[in-house]
């Protein structure tokens, strides 16, 4: 774990601070601007759930290094009323675009891994991870001049394309393994 950033969340302005710090950290960790925006957006959603449903809580941001992968971890914690049935909240999102479910659902779309632990009366902890994709230069170096199909398996990737440009495009979206 690298530096840890903590933001107390008790009002809407705090989630703006949290998402800005999240974006800054993501960029420092080598995430693309697009991925940094994904992370900031997920923090914005999850942060809103804290102050609207629990009143107060905190968001912890940290760099992550696991099995040779680099990423970011965002932990949102509160001691609020908790969610009785997380699955039901997620299902509710399908019929309504408001409230708790929307934030969690959005976070799942934007991050690679989202786990929700909640207990009635004790609070909720949402843990979100996102892995850094290959940087463009890194990919170009690994693939070299052509031969993407031969080299890709060495990176743990299955790629069936005839040109490097297409491979690069696919790789940009592939989490590091």
């Amino acid at each position: 774990m690298s530096e840890e950033i903590r933001v107390t969340v008790a009002a809407d302005a705090d989630t703006v601070v949290a998402r800005q710090k999240g974006r800054e950290l993501a960029l420092r960790l080598g995430f693309t601007r697009t991925d940094a925006t994904f992370i900031a957006t997920a923090i914005s959603e999850i942060g809103r759930n804290i102050w609207t449903h629990a009143g107060e809580g905190e968001i912890v941001l940290c760099g992550l290094s696991e099995d040779g992968r680099e990423g970011i971890i965002v932990i949102a914690r509160d001691k609020g009323p908790g969610i009785a049935d997380v699955d039901a909240v997620m299902r509710d999102q399908l019929s309504s675009d408001k409230g708790l479910g929307m934030g969690l659902w959005g976070a799942r779309k934007l991050m690679d891994e989202v786990t929700i632990v909640s207990e009635r009366g004790k609070g909720t902890t949402v843990t979100m991870k996102k892995w850094r994709g290959f940087a463009f230069d890194e990919v170009r170096q690994l693939l070299g001049e052509g031969g993407a199909e031969q080299r890709a398996p060495r990176l743990g990737l299955r790629i069936d394309v005839s040109n490097v440009a297409e491979a690069l495009e696919q790789l940009e979206d592939t989490p590091r393994r």
Partner: protein, 114 residues
């Protein structure tokens, strides 16, 4: 509120100056709808180039402005959505229903003039 709202001909032009809190997003929504009634504007342009994030709340608020505007005979155009923000919105599945979009302020005015 870090947003300026100007009246130009029949249009209202709102320029967001920085990241907005949820409260400020609601203030913007209410201020636009109040100005719309006051000036009987025919179009609203909201420049969101300075917005770092457009999440479910912001997108819902913008849609509300546009829908209410439509009921009052005004068309809403959102301009300047940052490329990264646009990608995040599409990944999230956030659309802007009933809202027109344009690249920048000039293109937005052109769209309303049509």
């Amino acid at each position: 509120m870090p947003v300026s709202i100007l009246k130009q001909r029949h249009y209202l032009i709102a320029s967001v100056q920085s990241a907005l809190t949820d409260t400020e997003v609601l203030e913007l929504r209410d201020a636009l709808l109040a100005e719309l009634a006051k000036h009987r504007s025919r179009g609203i342009i909201i420049d969101v180039a300075a917005l770092d994030v457009i999440d479910s709340f912001v997108s819902r608020s913008l849609t509300t402005v546009a829908r209410t505007g439509t009921l009052r005979g005004a068309r809403t155009v959102i301009v300047g959505i940052q490329p990264e923000v646009a990608v995040a919105m599409s990944h999230f599945g956030l659309g802007l229903e009933a809202v027109d979009t344009a690249l920048d302020l000039e293109a937005g005015i052109e769209l309303l003039d049509r």
